[in-house]
């Protein structure tokens, strides 16, 4: 049945900080705004976030980080997204992001950068306004690159299907 297109958002807690109250509150708010929120839980590596974003084919990623490790983690997330040809996903961040880091974060292509006190409605509106319109129109942006070699090899190298 052709439902209206749902916005799917990955909410992730990268790095080692376990303070996920904020992430959960935002997940809940996005849900109440009619979105489908995939919540990954805490202690996500860049690889886990990118892999989850690919498998879930999300429209947006929202990383919540309070630990101060953002400049170590964010570039890796963006790099791995690019390496996997993911170029139609809105990447946002929130949490404790010092003002002096914001230009560098934005230069990475990470948007939003919601600090403490941001109203939920602002985040919801931001997501709605900034997800890639191609995706919402259900057009298929060409996958810019085939699966990375490592992946392809792992798949190709699999033993023949057994009867298990």
């Amino acid at each position: 049945m052709a439902d209206e297109r749902k916005i799917r958002v990955l909410v992730a807690k990268p790095g080692l900080d376990g303070h996920d109250r904020g992430a959960k509150v935002i997940a809940r708010a996005l849900r109440d705004a009619g979105m489908e929120v995939i919540y990954t839980g805490i202690r996500q590596t860049p690889q886990m976030i990118v892999e989850a974003a690919i498998q879930e084919d999300v429209d947006a990623i929202l990383m919540s980080i309070l630990s101060g490790a953002h400049m170590a983690i964010f570039p890796k997330v963006m790099e791995q997204l690019r390496a996997n040809g993911v170029d139609d996903v809105l990447v946002m961040a929130g949490g404790i992001l010092p003002d002096e880091d914001l230009p560098a974060i934005e230069a990475l292509g990470i948007k939003g950068n919601f600090g403490p006190g941001t109203p939920m409605s602002a985040i919801i509106e931001y997501v709605r306004a900034n997800v890639y319109p191609d995706r919402l129109a259900q057009a298929l942006p060409p996958l810019t690159r085939a699966a990375p070699a490592a992946d392809a090899k792992a798949v190709a190298g699999q033993p023949e299907r057994s009867a298990q």
């Binding site: 297109r5 489908e36 839980g41 498998q55 298929l140 996958l143 992946d151 190709a156 298990q164």
Partner: protein, 324 residues
Amino acid sequence: MANSDLVARLLGGDRRALARVVTLIENGAPETRAILAELHAHGGRAHIVGFTGSPGAGKSTLVTQLARELRRRNLRLAVVAVDPTSPFTGGAILGDRIRMQELAGDPNVFIRSMASRGNLGGLAAATRDVVRALDAAGFDLVIIETVGAGQAEVEIVRAAQTVVVVTVPGMGDDIQAIKAGILEIADIFVVNKADRPGADQTVAELRMLLSLDAQRNERAWRVPILKTSAATGEGVAELADKLAAHLASLKETGQLASRSGRQARSEMLALLHQALLERIAATISADEWNRLIDEVVEREKDPYTAAAELARRVGLAGAAPAEA
């Protein structure tokens, strides 16, 4: 449109293409039908296993442990985890990945969360078609984890070849278990959280109930009752063995084919139903509806007569198909 390209990439193991196809299927995009036709031709090899049971029974954690065991056996697997959509906002929080973190990063495991999007019965309307995509993508097993199900969410029997019903100790007395529904669909019972007190009693009660089921006793497959602890990993290897044994039994007895036949039939009926509804919507105007509704409300016509009239309008109902 790059659809055939997408399917080719999916068949070649491209995870992004697979993920995108799943999105198209979920959204009922117009190009989906051609994609599904192609996928269907490439499928039929995966063992499709359903996990159902009440919320909090430990389905996600158990599936994670099982997945690790299957990976040790060098099998590739996909997991479709269905969580409920809020009937009030249409949104959903899909949290099954939280418990599946140990599987992250393994390219031979593909996990997809699905919101139920208003479908009752424990699955989303598109789940079977998503399974079709995962099957075509070449996974050895496709595991469907239903919405935490109560007593009658049994749609999983129309989607899976092997149904695992997960229960936990202390979920209620044995009257709960003899009510109709979820207990009748199990090919394998799992008493999870078996490290908790009362597990043996739950197993004993289930065993007694099964022994009273005359229909089951005639079948070749004896429904096993396994004790697992997803926390410690106890019983998980045995569960993997039983899954394989059940599939083997289905094949031996010819039941795999008859199950597939039943599933195909129910799927076609559902699609036919859908097509009829679309035909009705396209043929009968709102005015016509309202006129008939008024006549029924005013008791000039009874609902059966009014429905028969509508049926004739869409070319149904006993009489020779009316002119279109």
